[in-house]
Structures are given as structure tokens and as C-alpha cells.
């Protein structure tokens, strides 16, 4: 990453929350940097705090201590400072895609995509231009005026991705976006996401619990420890795209990631079983 602009910088991040009068350390000393245009997957056993890390970067959750800085600039706004700025609340410089799609049911596909543009008071004519391009990009032509309830899960997530891209953020945060899709749709959406990513050159931080998904998508995979979550290992995936899930190299990297993860799975399971 030397010489490359850094878009996300997390240092010494920790998160403590209270549960039934007890303090639970969810994240402790998490460090990570994501370079410009990089695709990074956060992988870890459930409960390790990977979603919490993402939500803190998004500005939806408060950190307890540490530093979370992002390259806060959106292409439509005034040019941001070249240096990273500390995250303070949610903002349109970081687009987010949720596992539950989080589409507004009363808005059509087009109106969902234009939500962020409305927040910026963009005139209608320009909005339509932006949303038309994005509808084309995510392959939803002909569904502009459909409501979310009329769409399949994969189509809903296409809308959500287009909506997150509408504000043209530098950073795209994705919280298990394909977790509720069936296996076939999931594979297709992974390919679609890579196509969109290479077209838009966004920095992506992607939370998943699927090893295969991480190896298929990521430039680098950040493996987290069981709670309290921190970085256990960062594994680079130096394979050309499109990647062949059945190739020797793919399977090698997948087993390497799996071996690392399994120890953490065991730790998480042991903690679950032990009476606290």
C-alpha cells in the first residue's frame, strides 16, 4: 500500500458496551488501513464485532476509544481536505449497503436511488440523469417504477447498491449484503458487484462470514479474532479477476483462510459453552 492514498485508517479502535450491568468488550485494539480503490473483506466468527467495526466507520455506532479516519470527500461536493478526517456521525461520503436491503417500501426503484440526491437538493432533472445511469449500471432497466415488494432479493440488493453509489462516495461499506440471498443469486451478485466496483473504482469494506465470498471478492482479507475483536491476520489474495472458484490457487488461499478462522471459531464456541 506504500505510495497509495489511504481512504480508511483505523487505529487502536475499541468498543465497550453495557449488557445487563456488565461491561462487554466487543472490540479491543483494532488496527487497519484500506487503500484507495481497494476491496477489503472483514471476516470473523459471529459476535467478533466485524459489523460493529463497519457501523463505527459508517458513523452509525459510537466508538469507545481509538481513531477512525476516512477520506471524507464526495465527488459532487466541494473538494474535501486531502488528509483523512475523524469520523463524526454518518455522512454521504460513505455509502452503506445493509443485509436487510433497507429499501424504503413506499419509494419506487428510481425514487429509492434518488433519496441521497434529494438530501443534497439536487434538481429533479439532474437526479433523473444520475438515477438512470445507475439503474443501467446495476441492470434494473425496466424496473424504474417498481416498488421493492415487487422485486426479488437480488434485485433489491441491486437497488440498494445503486442507492449507495448515487452520492458518489469514495467509500462503500457493505454489511453482509448477500447474506440473505440463495446460493445461486449470491454468486451472481458477487460477480455483479465486482463489475460495478471496477466500473466505479470505489474503496470497498465488505463484511462477510463466508470464506469463499471473501476469497472471491477481496484484494485483502482481514481475519478478526473472536471477541474481543481485533485483527488476527491479513491475507492478500493476489489472484486475477474473474477468479475461478475451482482453481488450485483459489482453493489454497481458501484453506489458508479457513485454517486461521477455525481456531477463532473454536474459541468463540468454547466461550459460548462456558458458563460466564
Amino acid at each position: 500500500m506504500d505510495g497509495v492514498q489511504v481512504d480508511i485508517s483505523i487505529a487502536g479502535l475499541s468498543k465497550v458496551f453495557r449488557k445487563d450491568k456488565r461491561q462487554v468488550v466487543a472490540i479491543d485494539g483494532f488496527d487497519m488501513r484500506v487503500g484507495h480503490g481497494e476491496f477489503v473483506c472483514l471476516l470473523g466468527p459471529s459476535g467478533c464485532g466485524k459489523t460493529t467495526v463497519l457501523r463505527i466507520v459508517a458513523g452509525l455506532d459510537q466508538k469507545t476509544s481509538g481513531s477512525v479516519r476516512v477520506h471524507a470527500a464526495d465527488a459532487h461536493g466541494p473538494p474535501g481536505p486531502p488528509e483523512l478526517t475523524e469520523v463524526n456521525g454518518a455522512g454521504r461520503d460513505r455509502g452503506m449497503v445493509f443485509q436487510e436491503f433497507a429499501l424504503f417500501p413506499w419509494r419506487t426503484v428510481r425514487k429509492n436511488i434518488e433519496f441521497g440526491l434529494e438530501m443534497r437538493n439536487m434538481p429533479e432533472g439532474e437526479r433523473v440523469k444520475v438515477s438512470t445511469d445507475l439503474i443501467e449500471l446495476v441492470g434494473l432497466k425496466g424496473f424504474e417504477d417498481s416498488h421493492p415488494k415487487e422485486l426479488s432479493g437480488g434485485m433489491k440488493q441491486r437497488v440498494a447498491i445503486a442507492r449507495a453509489l448515487a452520492n458518489d462516495p469514495e467509500v462503500l461499506l457493505m454489511d453482509e449484503p448477500f447474506g440473505s440471498l440463495d446460493a445461486q443469486t449470491r454468486n451472481l451478485m458477487q460477480k455483479e458487484l465486482l463489475r460495478i466496483w471496477s466500473a466505479k473504482k470505489k474503496t470497498v469494506l465488505f463484511v462477510t462470514h463466508s470464506v469463499e465470498e471473501a476469497v472471491f471478492l477481496a484484494d485483502r482479507i482481514v481475519i478478526m479474532t473472536a471477541r474481543p475483536g481485533k485483527v488476527r491476520e491479513i491475507i492478500s489474495v493476489p489472484l486475477d479477476r474473474p477468479r475461478d472458484r475451482t482453481s488450485r490457487e483459489f482453493i489454497d488461499i481458501r484453506s489458508k483462510v479457513l485454517t486461521e478462522l477455525e481456531e477463532e471459531f473454536d474459541k468463540a464456541r468454547a466461550r459460548e459453552l462456558s458458563p460466564e
Binding site: 452509525l60 460513505r94 433497507a102 433519496f115 421493492p148 442507492r163 449507495a164 452520492n167 461499506l173
Partner: protein, 280 residues
Amino acid sequence: MNGIAARLRKTIVGSWFQLLLSLTAVVVLLVGWWLYSAYLRGDWPFTNLPRLDKADYLPYWWDVLKAFGKSFTEPTIGGLFMTQHIAASLKRIALGFALALLTAVPLGLMMGRSKNTEAVGRPIVELFRPIPPLAWVPIFLAVFRLFWGPVLIVFLGIFFPILLNVRLGARSVDPVLLDAAKTLGAKRGAIFTKVVLPYTTPYLMTGVTVGLGIGWMCIVAAEMLGAVGGGVGYYIFTANNGSQYEFMYAGMLMIAILSVLTTGVAELTERWLRRWMGFK
């Protein structure tokens, strides 16, 4: 044409057999009414019995229908046409309804979304909600007089169902929608108008439907105790005072029809709105 008839039948009752049952129920009611009226009067088939004093209280139902028709074709009770009474009552309902919408919607949204507003509003709401709006009739008529008094009674009847439903809706907004709006750059105001308010609309419509039903009950009572320019409640009360019982029942029938019509329109609007807005 056939399709429309079938759909209409489906919305009213389930099958032809059930439609038959419904019609039978109405016929049984009308026959029972006729027999009891005849019994009170000593008419056929009770010609061997004497006419009772209370016979006037229950005219034959066809006389009620005649009075109902007559009220539309000529001025009767209070020297007004039925349409004028309807207009007077509708005006009060509309005013009370508008006032309730303007106050209960913002208040319900705020109580549903802000714990502090909820803390301020809750004891007041819980204290006043159980009081039947009719209990306020004497004091409201004395203080707010004959125009605003009945309007405010109606307002009270509609206010609480709307407030409670809007509050429930605002409380149940899916948190992930709020998160999504925030990451798209929505600030507090926009979250309210562009997420919380539309999410709450179906709940609001439920409140409106319930509220209108209560509103009609209130308007009758309010107008009975005093009204300017007529009203269906005034019509019932005046007919009763003049011992024109067939007209009194005609007024009651009118209230039932109006209430069914307005809540029916509210329900249809709710269904249409849900579909149009993409909920279900």
C-alpha cells in the same frame, strides 16, 4: 361486468350461501320488528289484543322509511331538508377531523420518536384518553358555544385514535431504514418527513378509520344538546321531542348510513394508499 359483481360479492360476504344468510338475518329483523309493532297496536295478526300506550314508540318500519324519504323531498324537522342536516353534521365532522389531524399527527410523531416528548405527553394523554368525549359536552357547549362546542367534542373523539396509532407507527419504524437514511445524508428533519412520516401513513389511516366512527357517535350527542343550523343529531332530538318517532328512527338510520359511508371511504382510501405506497 360479471367480474365486478363477483368482486363486490366477495368484499361484502364470502359465498352465495353466506349472502343468503345475511339477507335472511335482515328479513328476520324486519319481520320481528313488524310483528312487535303489530302486537303493540293490536293490528293483524293480533286483532284480538288491545292497543297499548307505548305503541307510538315503535312505528312500523315502512313508516320509518316513508319518513326517511319525506325528509329528503320536503322540509320536515326544524323546517330543514335532510340534506341540510347532513351538511351541518358533515361540516362539524370535517372541522373536528381537520383539527385532530393537524394536532394529533405531529404530536404522535414526536411522542413516538422522542423519549422526552413521550415523557411530557404520556401522563396527559393517559389521563384524558379514558374520559368519554361525551362527558365534555355540557361544559364545552357552555364555554365554546353552539358552533365550536360540538366541533371540539368531535375533535376529542377523533384525536386520540389518531394520536395513538401515529405514535405506534412512529415507534415501529424499522431502525435499518433510519440507518440507511443517515448514511445517505439525511439530517433530523429529513428523517422525520421522508422516513418516519411515510412509514407511519398506514397507521395514521387506521386511526382515521377508527376516529371517524367515534366522531359520528360524538356528533349526535353534541347536537342533541344544542346545535345551530340543524344537524342529524339535532334532527333525532327534535323529532323525539315532537313525538314524531318515525322521523326519529329515520334520523338514526341516517346516522348509521353516514357512518358506514365515511368509514368505508376511509378504509378504501387506506387500502388504496397502502397499495399505491408499495406496502403490501
